[in-house]
Symmetry: C2
Subunit: 569 residues, 2 copies
């Protein structure tokens, strides 16, 4: 909180009667309200802008050199875990892209570690330079159809509510539970009435949507068509346009962002991996593309900043004006949105600034509680002599899967893959130390001619998912994962050919994001060496176990038919 002495300095510096702490000299300031661009200095004291539209002197000066100044960007919904690095490394990786606030839902780590995972994120959020805010994971476990590491009831969430980094309740993805008034869901919703509740309601429309919204759920990041988004806007939902590594909705939703709606629209990434961040950027990339698609420029920047702040009750930020939090991105061109400097809470973002953060001890280092498996664990016996089996159909870039079928040969080692037909094995191994389940089935679409690919990232319960042509390679990859404390592994010819350890809850690396990016390149290459035809094999493995996305999914409890909402018998 601002002390009386600091407040006095702010008032005096704003009037030009005392020097500012920091002056960004000579920028073209974008007003996201009117679209006006004004050449000016920006004076800063403490964490706050104190002067614009005038010349200022200050203890430290950043030469703007006529660059454009825009309000720092706000990612309104993301799972930092999907960046595969710690919040500290996410901070170092993404803040230079102008993202000064990230509103995260620690849903992945909470599914593994429960409250301990949320605590880890809040501890990290107190250290990051970026303002990391947390919505409390509402749906742990995400579904009853798989074995998760933890369950969070309202009693488990309550202790976190008063934490200064907590905003509200995270994405309420169990919309059937809302509509059926499931008592556990109602208890969570009731506790957050009057506060913020994030939504997640793919394809929910009409009176069902009304029922969901009647619980005062206020946002949605799951609209995938403009028509869906328009109905949701008309019913008072703020639309968070998502552009992640897997789910990419920007192209379909761009048209909804205009002069009328820009105060009710924001941007988010949901899940974005370090490769995409390195190659495309983060919200800067979304802004660039929306402008290129003809959306009105200052309304795009408004959605990325002030609108996002308002929607989530962050009343101190989102405008470049005296009295507002000094979260500022400098770009050479408004259309290009290439961020060259970032100031957040009044501090220029530099390597030295990141070095001031205190480390947070990693958690979940012993989260891989599965026992090593033998190749025989993957033997899949035919059911009562039936060689024709259901097969999960995978398509590039879709987490949606399809139900296909294949006739497979049965040997003394059970049903065997049919490489000519691109039908290989898939298994999910419970790894939370609860029951040792192994679910087994078949998948098509990977193109693997040899070897295996395994991942301990497996939405949303994060058991071990492995696909492969060969039981020995599958066992090798899985066992290496267990040894590493989680991660990704590719095995071929009985040995592991590429790997990335993710020892924090089996989800996040302890290493710098640059190293993780390099390893991901190596992993991709190793997968391609197996003749894998999917551009992003690890993302596709990671979503094979998500039983709320149609149509056919694999969990540790067995093959799940999402359309029937039951296991394949």
């Amino acid at each position: 909180m601002t002390s009386p002495a600091t407040l006095t300095r702010m008032i005096m510096a704003g009037q030009g009667k005392a020097p500012a702490d920091l002056v960004i000299r000579d920028v073209n300031l974008l007003d996201v309200i009117t679209g006006a661009v004004t050449r000016t200095d920006i004076a800063i004291v403490g964490d706050r802008i104190v002067g614009t539209h005038a010349a200022y002197e200050g203890g430290r000066v950043i030469e703007g050199g006529g660059r454009f100044a825009v309000p720092g960007f706000i990612d309104t919904h993301l799972h930092i875990e999907s960046s595969l690095v710690t919040p500290h490394e996410f901070d170092r990786c993404v803040l230079p892209h102008g993202v000064t606030t990230a509103i995260c839902d620690p849903h992945e780590i909470a599914n593994v570690l429960g409250a301990e995972g949320i605590g880890y994120f809040l501890d990290s959020a107190e250290q990051t330079i970026m303002d990391v805010r947390v919505n409390l994971s509402s749906c742990v476990p995400a579904t009853p159809f798989e074995t998760a590491g933890a369950a969070l009831e309202i009693e488990d969430l309550e202790p976190f509510r008063s934490h200064p980094k907590v905003i509200g309740l995270a994405e309420m993805m169990n919309f059937p539970g809302v509509l059926n008034a499931d008592p556990g869901i109602i208890a969570k919703l009731a506790a957050f009435q009057g506060g913020h509740i994030d939504g997640h309601a793919p394809l929910l429309l009409g009176q069902a949507l009304n029922g969901y919204l009647a619980a005062a759920i206020r946002t949605d990041h799951e609209a995938t068509s403009a028509a869906e988004a328009r109905e949701k806007l008309a019913k008072g939902m703020a639309i968070l346009i998502r552009e992640g590594s897997v789910s990419k909705d920007l192209k379909a939703l761009a048209e909804i962002l205009d002069e009328n709606t820009s105060s009710f629209v924001a941007l988010c990434t949901d899940d974005r991996n370090p490769l995409d961040i390195a190659e495309e950027g983060h919200l800067d990339s979304s802004i660039r593309r929306l402008i290129a698609m003809g959306r009105p420029l200052h309304h795009v920047y408004r959605a990325a900043s002030h609108s996002a702040a308002r929607i989530f009750g962050l009343t101190d930020r989102g405008l470049l004006a005296p009295g507002w939090r000094a979260d500022i991105a400098l770009v050479d061109s408004l259309e290009d949105c290439r961020v060259s400097d970032v100031v957040t809470a009044g501090r220029l973002v530099t390597p030295e600034l990141f070095a001031t953060r205190k480390p947070v001890a990693p958690v979940g280092l012993a989260s891989m509680k599965a026992k090593p498996v033998a190749p025989e664990a993957f033997i899949t016996a035919p059911k009562a002599g039936q060689n024709r089996v259901p097969v999960i159909g995978v398509r590039p870039g879709l987490i949606l899967t399809f139900r296909e079928e294949a006739s497979l040969a049965a040997t003394d080692k059970g049903l065997v893959p049919d490489l000519a037909a691109d039908v290989i094995k898939v298994a999910v191994i419970e790894r939370h130390g609860k029951n040792g389940n192994i679910g087994r089935s078949f998948v098509t679409g990977f193109g693997l001619k040899r070897g295996a690919i395994a991942s301990s990232v497996g939405h949303d319960s994060h058991n071990i998912t492995v696909v492969g042509t060969d039981d020995a390679d599958m066992a090798a990859a899985v066992n290496r994962l267990i040894e590493m404390g989680g991660g990704f592994a590719v095995a071929e010819g009985g040995r592991v050919t590429a790997e990335l350890a993710l020892p924090i809850a089996g989800l996040m690396s302890t290493r710098p994001f640059e190293d993780v990016t390099e390893d991901l390149h190596r992993l991709r290459d190793a997968a391609y060496a197996l003749d894998c035809v999917l551009p992003e094999p690890f993302l596709q493995v990671a979503f094979l176990a998500l039983p709320v996305i149609p149509h056919l999914k694999m969990t540790d409890r067995g093959l799940f038919d999402v359309d029937k909402f039951d296991f394949v018998s």
Copy 2:
């Protein structure tokens, strides 16, 4: 707070699986986001809309008959005291105009009664049907140049902060105190950092405005020109377009309200008396006029509702959509904005609904602590034989005054009025029992040929202000005020010819607003019978003592030169 059982009913009714409590059938619903108009039912459970864009059944039905439904209006800054009636009567008078939320600053009663006055408003706010919210008066006393009834430091305000009806700190009108970092002001501003702080900064621009805003002051209702408002908007202030009984800024500011700005603009009345409410309406009148002036229709309605709610952190209201507070005005035509029915927090506004309110005991019934005066109290001796004296110049409809001069005859009863030149006496009598001060001078512009007009409403310290041609009539009017416990009085020929008692702190009537309106008509007529030429004589008397408005003002401590910011020597 919504209980789990009610929440369940809301979710079920929204889906159409259970009856709603109330259905407004067949309305044309205005979407203030996009401007779309949709023919639909509106389903309500408890205080909340649960369904739109569909047909619904409910326990109670209001036939919309194709009328237009718009979100209830929010008056973002007003002093209920200026309506001259209690908050209960204000509620009954103004809610039927569609004003479902009123954000008031009990600045007037606080200047008389201090914390007791704020407590009275908060007690009343818990009873009114309209949602009355309170910002805590920041500047009591308003100035050191007059004697007020109370002083409120931050320690006096703190106990009210957690009251559910309190939003933040009310209009920080002491902008010189902010810019000079007056310690008492800084203490108040520091305490409300991170909360809401209302502004009040007439004509403050440039770096001085920056200094003021550096304190995180967020709104302004004092802009009187479009250029002023545009600079304030560019510096992040929300602009509250004011149209009161005295200060009328709508015409000058209308042009700033457009597609770009509508989320940053709201409406307010500040001070509006019952005559104006009866004759013109309230915010409905402002909406009607803005639309008639060509402002984009749905953006006008947005400013009056959702924008206002967002600016003041009222996140539950301002849209007609499932999950939002059921504050709804029904109008026959969007352009005309004549409100025919109002629903607030899910209740149809009817006389029976008002009858359910518990009364709140009036306060400040003994606030007129001045002793009766003799006619001789108004004798004004010439200074050292100087007959040429400064005279306050009053113009119709302006609270701004002008410095004029006159040569007056001196008799054994001091300087005497010059009726031919329209120069009459003015006096301000301290009435808080502090010192018995009487300030005396002369005023021109009233046109009085006989008699006297007195008022215990005298912004902002609310001493007794009296103007008159005759010392005996002045004494008669003042003494009647003291007897009545405050109010307005007109005296002629030694007797009181019209009066209105305002016994609550000398500011508000205990009677119904209809009776007050009638009395105000009689008072006006009685003033006109004295040949008064001002259309609103009581408003002009009430602002003669406001020493922060240029140029020449009268306080109990003497004649005050606002330009020199000192008393006339």
